[in-house]
């Protein structure tokens, strides 16, 4: 049942020996000890486990690890570092856009993939992209402001 699976996460190649059906989230959290993607619901309903694969925001809690092997995977900590945050992370810092911060992988990575693909996304398109992303502290105002700030800066 176990199989050696090779993953490329944040630019590093890892080989893990797991059940191929294991959700990617468990592999990045438990085997690779990454803290960015988090278990929110396990049902792809909230976004807390989001990672970027091939430019798409993917919910890692329902994605079998075997389906993403050999692909480039980016987690929240792969975007930038505390010393050198990515521009979208900097926008969230500048806007003070977090409370508990547990939801941030979903918020930041979903917005980033949208704006990478469509830098001129309208407010309506941004709302549409964020319509399945949850923040239960309801830091919505600052988060949407941070997304706009990032959009303006990258233009």
């Amino acid at each position: 049942m176990m199989a050696a699976i090779s993953l490329k996460v944040n630019g590093q190649v890892h080989t893990v020996d797991v059940d191929p059906e294991t959700p990617l989230l468990y592999v990045v959290s438990d085997h690779l000890r990454l803290r960015g993607p988090k278990f929110g619901c396990g049902l792809a309903q909230c976004g807390a486990c989001t990672v970027i694969i091939r430019g798409r925001a993917v919910r890692s809690c329902v994605m079998p690890v075997s389906a993403v092997k050999e692909q480039e995977i980016t987690t929240l900590e792969g975007l930038g570092t505390p010393d050198k945050p990515h521009a979208i992370q900097q926008a969230f810092i500048d806007e003070g856009a977090a409370q508990c911060g547990f939801c941030l992988s979903g918020v930041i990575l979903t917005a980033k993939t949208l704006l990478d693909e469509n830098p001129k996304a309208s407010d309506e398109q941004i709302r549409e992209a964020m319509s399945n992303v949850l923040c239960r502290c309801f830091a919505h105002i600052r988060m949407m402001r941070a997304i706009k700030r990032y959009q303006e800066r990258r233009a």
Partner: protein, 766 residues
């Protein structure tokens, strides 16, 4: 982990300094003596300065607090407090939060109490003030100068002649060995350099870069993974567990059954998840549940524990002789905390001691609970707070801490338990369902001269505290009794006026035995509350009962005001006497450019999209913060959809410790309140809860049309510091309800204001 980590070990390990507590002192005082802040006496003596603060040999400061950051900024603002009082930069302060081995027992971090408890003239603030005074006194001796001639900056005390001595030289690495002084002076807000400033939350960089350690990220050597199997129906009990059904699951370590608690432990998380899927458990069904559609009527018929909060004893007569009497009943459903992260904890229970890394709000009470469920001695249990996702009250944090302890004890391994979303929804303790019935009598001039309020709230379990692990689901499943409701008739109120649940409306005098604690001027008053047994566990949810009661009072106030064709702001002010609530109402109205006129808005169309505004105000818990909130909404009368466009919050919490943190709380509280007002409701069928994920329980995602929120912050440096985490949310349902009425003339007396419910109200307009 070692058997018992003393403060000495801890501080040596953390490089901070040497503080030692003898091994004997770890055991002896664990008696039942009540300490301050509804706590038990712990080995960390809050009377001693060394329990709160230490200066290391490099001059850095370590402070210990029993109030932890739940994602709302308490870490940052308590660091600011210590830095301010000690006149050192924030970067020199390390704050250690909520750990039964090293921090004072400050009970539970809840109820907007962290600021009142630690930012006035007791506890952390007083300890920091004591430390500064002591350091200045030591410097005076060393420099042979008078203390009042010395100045302190950046941890260095200087005399006028230019002689200097540093904190490190004075006490670095040593004990203060003095008591916390009750007379030590706090620095005056006019001198503040760090406190009162919009210091960015210190966790933010780690959060946005994905490097912050949540409890979900705790990994300890040898750790394995647990999952739980909850009863499929409320009250179901275990008949049989077929362990053979999971023999095929690779990595399985153990199936654990304790009374009605069932769980599994496996090497990998995915294996544990598969094992709970496959494990065959036969359950004996529990009793059927009262029907949700009749539940509010059901509540009123249950035996109840009654409490009379105020009774002027002339209420019936005044109602009989009133020019007019208005009556209305308001309904509020059970709601979920619905934390974004399903709860998680890690426990390492060994034969003679245990360590639990827990997101609990209550490390010391949880120490008692884990001791009870594991049978280990209290002083052998260490609970270390590690932040979970925002909890907003009693989510499943305590339950999952017990889950981890039970599974670790049975498996003889450190176990991490991750609840599923379904587990979380059925393991948490919901905000209480409430029925609030009110009547008010008016005099000939149209002023209110009598207010009568009777409430029913459904309650079961609650915070476990120091003696009731059965108050949350896991404790009950493991065989401990929950607190339940025993019938008790109300007696006439005596002692101090109490309004901790805001059951007493702001507009009455709130008098008990001649002492009046109310914010209003109405003299004839009666408030009777009934607690009835809930079929589901309940517990504090951000603004517990204060929100439900305020929704009812503030909407009813609006109804009365409309009935006499008065402006809702002016009519409120007419019945208020407490300056601080009057000021927030006036500030909100001014900032909103409030159009003084009665509701509903004249000339509003009966179809199409219409707009309106509504106000609500509160003296939170009677005196723990003051707020007024104005909602401006749009109502689509065809669909029944309510779209708030703008909120305006005026707020007074005394001296403002961090204006940016305060705004963040007001904004988040307002939108969380909007989500709860418009859609959130626990649902159930005849056997079990049916709102179990984000499809069956409504929450407003990021992609909504986010309304604007403007905050007016009233700073009162001379006043007592009060809470600010629960004020705004308390007002949102009332303000939106009043705005819907203003826009449409339809009054909705039941939360949430779903489209269907709004349409029914619109269709029943006269």
């Amino acid at each position: 982990m070692k058997r018992e980590v003393s403060r000495r070990d801890f501080l040596v390990a953390s490089g901070a300094l040497v503080v030692s507590f003898s091994a004997g002192s770890l055991i002896e005082p664990f008696a039942i003596a009540q300490g301050p802040f509804d706590t038990h006496k712990s080995h960390v003596d809050p009377e001693k300065l060394d329990s709160w603060l230490a200066v290391a040999s490099d001059g850095t400061v370590t402070a210990y607090t029993g109030k932890c950051d739940l994602g709302q900024g308490m870490y940052t603002v308590q660091t600011q407090l210590v830095a301010e009082e000690l006149c050192v930069p924030i970067s020199k302060v390390t704050l250690i939060q909520c750990d039964t081995s090293v921090t004072p027992d400050q009970g539970t971090t809840s109820g907007s109490q962290s600021t009142p408890t630690n930012f006035n003239t007791e506890n952390l603030a007083q300890a920091a003030g004591t430390a500064r005074e002591a350091l200045v006194a030591m410097a005076a001796q060393r420099l042979r100068a008078s203390a009042d001639q010395l100045t302190v900056e950046d941890g260095i005390v200087s005399s006028k002649s230019g002689r200097r001595v540093s904190y490190a030289e004075l006490v670095g690495g040593k004990h203060f060995d003095i008591a916390v002084s009750s007379t030590a002076k706090r620095r005056s807000p006019s001198q503040w350099k760090v406190l009162g400033k919009p210091v960015p939350s210190m966790d933010r960089l780690a959060l946005v870069t994905g490097t912050f350690e949540f409890v979900h990220n705790v990994r300890v050597p040898g750790m394995v993974h647990g999952r739980v199997v909850r009863p499929p129906e409320i009250g179901a009990t275990v008949a049989n567990v077929d362990e053979k059904s999971v023999q095929h699951v690779p990595g399985l370590i153990k199936v654990v059954v304790r009374n009605n608690f069932v769980g599994v432990v496996a090497e990998k998380q995915w294996q544990a998840a598969q094992a709970v899927q496959d494990l065959k458990v036969t359950w004996k069904p529990g009793p059927s549940l009262p029907a949700q559609k009749d539940f509010y009527d059901y509540m009123r018929k249950q035996p109840s524990r009654d409490l009379m909060l105020v009774n002027s004893k002339d209420v019936d007569n005044k109602l009989k002789t009133a020019s007019r009497v208005l009556r209305a009943t308001y309904l509020h459903p059970y709601q979920a905390h619905g934390s974004i992260g399903s709860s998680c904890a890690v426990a390492d229970v060994q034969a003679d001691h245990a360590t639990v890394w827990s997101p609990t709000q209550s490390v010391y009470p949880t120490q008692h609970g884990v001791s009870a469920i594991t049978g280990l001695a209290l002083d052998s249990v260490r609970i270390i707070f590690v932040r979970g996702s925002g909890c907003y009250g009693l989510n499943a944090a305590d339950a999952v801490s017990y889950d981890a302890a039970l599974l670790s004890q049975a498996a003889h391994r450190p176990v991490r338990v991750q609840l599923t979303r379904h587990d979380e929804f059925i393991s948490e303790s919901y905000g209480n369902a409430s029925v609030i019935e009110q009547q008010a009598g008016l005099d000939a001039s149209g002023a209110i001269n009598v207010w009568d309020c009777e409430t029913w709230s459904a309650s079961f379990g609650g915070r476990p505290g120091y003696g009731k692990p059965g108050n949350v689901l896991t404790g009950m499943l493991a065989g401990f009794d929950p607190e339940t409701i025993t019938r008790q008739a109300a007696v006439e109120p005596t002692g101090e006026p109490q309004n901790g649940n805001n059951a007493v409306p702001s507009y009455v005098v709130g008098c008990v035995s001649g002492k009046c604690g109310g914010a209003g001027s109405i003299r004839s008053e009666r408030v009777l509350t009934h607690a009835v047994k809930s079929p589901f566990f309940t517990g504090p949810l951000r603004s517990p009962l204060r929100l439900q009661n305020t929704f009812a009072h503030e909407c009813f106030m609006d109804e009365i005001s409309a009935s006499v064709k008065a402006d809702p702001v002016a009519y409120r002010l007419q019945h208020l006497k407490e300056t601080r609530i009057i000021d927030v109402v006036k500030a909100a109205a001014k900032a909103a450019n409030w159009d003084a006129r009665p509701s509903p808005k004249p000339g509003t169309a009966r179809s199409g999209t219409v707009t309106g505004r509504g106000i609500a105000c509160v003296a939170y818990e009677g005196d723990n913060g003051y707020a007024a909130l104005i909602a401006e909404v749009e109502v689509d009368q065809a669909s029944g959809q309510v779209q708030p466009k703008r909120f305006l919050v005026a707020h007074d919490c005394g001296p403002i410790s961090n204006p940016d943190g305060l705004r963040n709380q007001l904004e988040g509280g307002t939108l969380q309140g909007m989500s709860r007002a418009l859609g959130e409701e626990i649902t159930w069928d005849d056997r079990t809860v049916t709102s179990i994920d984000w499809q069956s329980y409504t929450t407003l995602p990021l992609g909504i049309q986010v309304p604007a929120i403007d905050c007016v912050l009233i700073d009162r440096p001379e006043a007592k510091a009060t809470g600010a985490g629960e004020t705004a949310i308390t007002l949102v349902a009332a303000a939106i309800g009043n705005a819907i009425f203003d826009a449409t003339g339809a009054r909705i007396r039941e939360v949430p204001f779903t489209q269907d419910r709004v349409k029914v109200a619109l269709n029943s307009r006269g």
